[in-house]
């Protein structure tokens, strides 16, 4: 009896170990075969062009990240349908940056070392961009395209930005708010990281140059949930326009608490430069009513190409809640893919980083959401059309009515 027990114990121990290693081995085999990969349907002698997308599929920024991923798939599918780039198909790889720079760094490294992609597009928050740009551009020696609106001053070689810059967003919006809407007293509640800090610096200059006044500028941890002190300051400082740079997850409680304090009811104006139709994923429509935003595209723009893009996107992703919009970097992602296509066409299929970077520096795209775009040579940023719009609520859905537009605005960076 005791002998049996001893034997069983020993055997059990060894069996368990072998079981664990078998599982590991099986996992490895499955792992290298599977993964988040979209493979093209045909092959080319020189092999496919490998494009890596590193965006937030989970976490606080997930609604924007998923929009990015879907738009990337959509754009690449269109290109592949048209025969790829110079006959070579694009192979798309995804890694989830999970709205957490710590995880992102490891996952992005997979794209570079394991998948050996030729270009990486992605990163939404500036925190994410700063974390992943080193593994991609320096250690990984790979081209990186950053698609989101941001604070500017990113002049790293081989890092192209296809989203709006502070100059493109604030130069017209702020004077509009001060002079046309008539609101002069600004509050700047902000998330505590680099984008709000630098954007606020730029915005403050424009505000003061146009006769406005910044009543207070404050920074909160990203997951701040209690804003009663802030609302108090807004009320007591007689602030009439809140220039918001708080981001999720702190965003939703802030906007809710602001709305409930009656700010908009009493004539206050909310303005936020990353707000678009996708923000409905973050909080209810009525909290956004009357908000002013300035972006490179809104769905209500009367432009046949943009409208066709939306139709085709809806065909590929029917009933999706992740919309093809500008504040969520989706338009920047589309632009990034198209710029890359234009650059590789110009190099005639050569995907070596220096060649493509040189070609991308001069690249132009004729049509895109909201209009075309062109890279400013040597500046790593591009000119694009900008639109000021106000959010209107219609049966629980938001509609951004375009108020004014500007063609091919210069990014004024680097």
């Amino acid at each position: 009896m005791s002998e049996e027990r001893r034997e069983k114990n020993r055997g059990f121990g060894r069996r368990r170990l072998m079981g664990a290693s078998a599982l590991g081995a099986a996992g490895w085999v499955a792992g290298t075969a599977g993964g988040w990969l979209l493979a093209p349907k045909w092959a080319h002698a020189a092999g496919p062009i490998k494009m890596g997308i590193a965006t937030d599929i989970t976490g606080a920024i997930a609604p924007s990240g998923n929009a990015n991923w879907q738009v990337a798939q959509f754009a690449v599918e269109q290109i592949n349908k048209g025969g790829g780039i110079v006959g070579r198909p694009i192979e798309l790889y995804l890694e989830d940056t999970a709205s957490d720079p710590k995880i992102a760094v490891g996952n992005v490294r997979k794209l570079i070392q394991e998948r050996k992609v030729d270009v990486v597009l992605g990163g939404i928050t500036s925190a994410m961009r700063q974390a992943i740009k080193d593994p991609i551009v320096n250690r990984g020696r790979t081209l990186y395209i950053y698609p989101q609106l941001y604070e500017g001053q990113e002049c790293t070689k081989n890092l192209f930005c296809t989203g709006p810059t502070p100059a493109q967003q604030c130069d017209k919006l702020i004077p509009y708010l001060i002079q046309t809407v008539g609101k002069k007293r600004f509050a700047m509640p902000s998330a505590n990281y680099v984008w709000p800090q630098l954007l606020n610096k730029y915005a403050r200059k424009v505000i003061e140059a146009n006769g406005g006044e910044v009543v207070f500028e404050e920074y909160y941890p990203l997951d701040q949930a209690e804003y009663s002190a802030t609302i108090g300051k807004i009320r007591d400082g007689k602030v009439d326009v809140v220039f918001n740079t708080v981001i999720p997850p702190g965003l939703q409680p802030f906007v809710k608490q602001l709305y409930e304090s009656g700010f908009q009811k009493n004539g206050g104006v909310l303005s936020c430069v990353y707000y678009d139709e996708n923000l409905l994923n973050y909080h209810p429509a009525q909290e956004m009513e009357g908000l002013y935003s300035c972006l490179d595209y809104f769905q209500s723009i009367d432009d046949p190409f943009s409208k066709q893009l939306q139709v085709d996107y809806a065909k590929k992703f029917p009933d999706t809640k992740y919309l093809f919009t500008a504040g969520s970097a989706a338009t920047g992602m589309y632009r990034g893919v198209k710029f890359y296509e234009a650059a590789v066409k110009a190099t005639n299929g050569d995907v070596a980083r220096d060649a493509v970077a040189a070609a991308m520096d001069k690249a132009k795209i004729d049509q895109g959401p909201g209009g075309g775009a062109e890279m400013v040579p040597g500046k790593m940023h591009c000119k694009m059309n900008m639109y000021i719009a106000q959010c209107k609520v219609d049966a629980g859905k938001t509609r951004y009515d375009v108020i004014s537009s500007d063609k091919m605005v210069d990014p004024k960076e680097c």
Binding site: S2, R5, R6, N9, R10, F12, G13, R14, R16, L17, A20, L23, G24, G27, W28, A30, G31, T32, G34, G35, W36, D100, P101, K102, V105, G106, R109, K110, Q113, E114, S126, A127, Q130, A131, I132, K133, D134, P135, N138, R139, A191, N192, Y193, V194, Q197, Y219, P221, L222
Partner: protein, 353 residues
């Protein structure tokens, strides 16, 4: 204290039976495991060839093993439940990143000792606050104190602009030795392996030394040892500081290897992951945490690509931890290694246990 010991040891009859078998067959299993692990570690870079991504994974395992060993020194060897080892890991990582950024210095012979010193001093301060004082602290207080320290540091750093706030510090200057820069790959792997081997040897020596004997006594029954005249809290503080030093070293290597250090690298998340590594492998054995780290990290890596499991891998990890805590507190190694080997034998035994 008595209760904890009872939970730790299996019941007497089984113990006697097991002991007979083990004493006869494999009284020295641990050195064999250590030897095998070392040989595997040495030939791994050659076996993996040009799969840089896997070599990077292996290097990460080695570096994180330092954190796991640091926890084992506290808990497995001395009975201090520290939920904040990542604090020393992260702070050292930040320290060398800042030195690289502001002073443009990243020489091996300067920064690694700096990291060790940072870990040592910070841990000593914590030990002084948590462990020393007129009344000996309750275990809960120590656990909570370390957890709070880790958490508060994470929140503080998340808001401090100078250290990059929530962004963390990226583009960490590469580790250098003279003119040679250590990038991810076989070179860094060899460096990490060397460091781990030295630390491991040191810890092993500690465990087998007179100090280790005192620690073993502390772990068994603190009160009894105190009655013998040993200043138990002082020993605990000493070990805690040494563990902090090891964690600091790991943090520096991590920072150089990843090229990034963020608030998450010093918070309760990573601290508790260290606990998982150690418990899963088998606490008190020193090689157990290393194996635990390897197992968890490798599985995480491969399963992260398998869609079906990807989302639920952390759940599985949690269930594994629960299972380990409930049924097999001694971890994987506890299945094959006897208690006597785990705790260590010192001289002759009067009884057969």
């Amino acid at each position: 204290m008595l209760n904890e010991v009872e939970l730790d040891m299996p019941s007497a009859p089984v113990q006697r039976r097991r002991r007979t078998r083990v004493a006869f067959a494999s009284g020295r299993l641990l050195p064999i495991i250590e030897g095998v692990a070392f040989v595997v570690a040495v030939i791994l870079p050659f076996a993996l060839g040009d799969r840089t991504d896997l070599i990077t994974l292996a290097t990460n395992v080695l570096i994180l093993s330092l954190l796991a060993i640091s926890f084992d020194l506290c808990w497995g060897l001395s009975g201090i439940m520290s939920f904040g080892q990542a604090l020393f890991f992260g702070v050292a990582g930040y320290a060398i990143a800042l030195v690289g950024r502001d002073l443009d210095f990243s020489e091996l012979w300067g920064t690694l000792p700096l990291a060790m010193l940072t870990g040592l001093v910070l841990a000593a301060l914590f030990a002084a606050f948590l462990l020393l004082g007129r009344k000996p602290p309750t275990t809960i207080f120590v656990a909570l104190g370390t957890l709070t320290g880790s958490y508060a540091a994470e929140r503080l750093v998340s808001g401090w602009q100078y250290v990059g706030a929530g962004n963390g510090l990226s583009s960490v200057k590469l580790l250098k030795l003279g003119d040679y820069e250590f990038v991810e790959g076989p070179a860094f792997y060899c460096l990490a392996l060397t460091v781990l081997t030295l630390v491991y040897a040191g810890a092993r020596y500690l465990k087998r030394s007179q100090l280790g004997l005192v620690l073993a006594g502390m772990r068994q029954n603190e009160e009894r040892l105190a009655f013998f005249g040993y200043r138990v809290q002082l020993f605990k503080a000493l070990v805690f500081s040494l563990a902090g030093m090891v964690a600091g070293l790991g943090g520096a290597l991590y920072s150089y290897h990843q090229g990034f250090i963020g608030p998450g690298n010093m918070g309760p998340g990573l601290s508790t992951t260290a606990v998982i590594y150690c418990l899963f492998g088998g606490s008190g054995t020193l090689i157990g945490p290393v194996l635990g780290t390897a197992a968890v990290e490798v599985l995480s890596y491969v399963l992260a690509d398998v869609d079906a499991i990807k989302q639920f891998w952390p759940v599985i990890l949690g269930l594994v931890l629960l299972g380990v805590v409930m049924f097999q507190p001694k971890g994987i190694l506890g299945l094959i290694v006897s208690d006597r080997e785990r705790i260590g034998s010192y001289g002759l035994c009067r009884r057969k246990d």
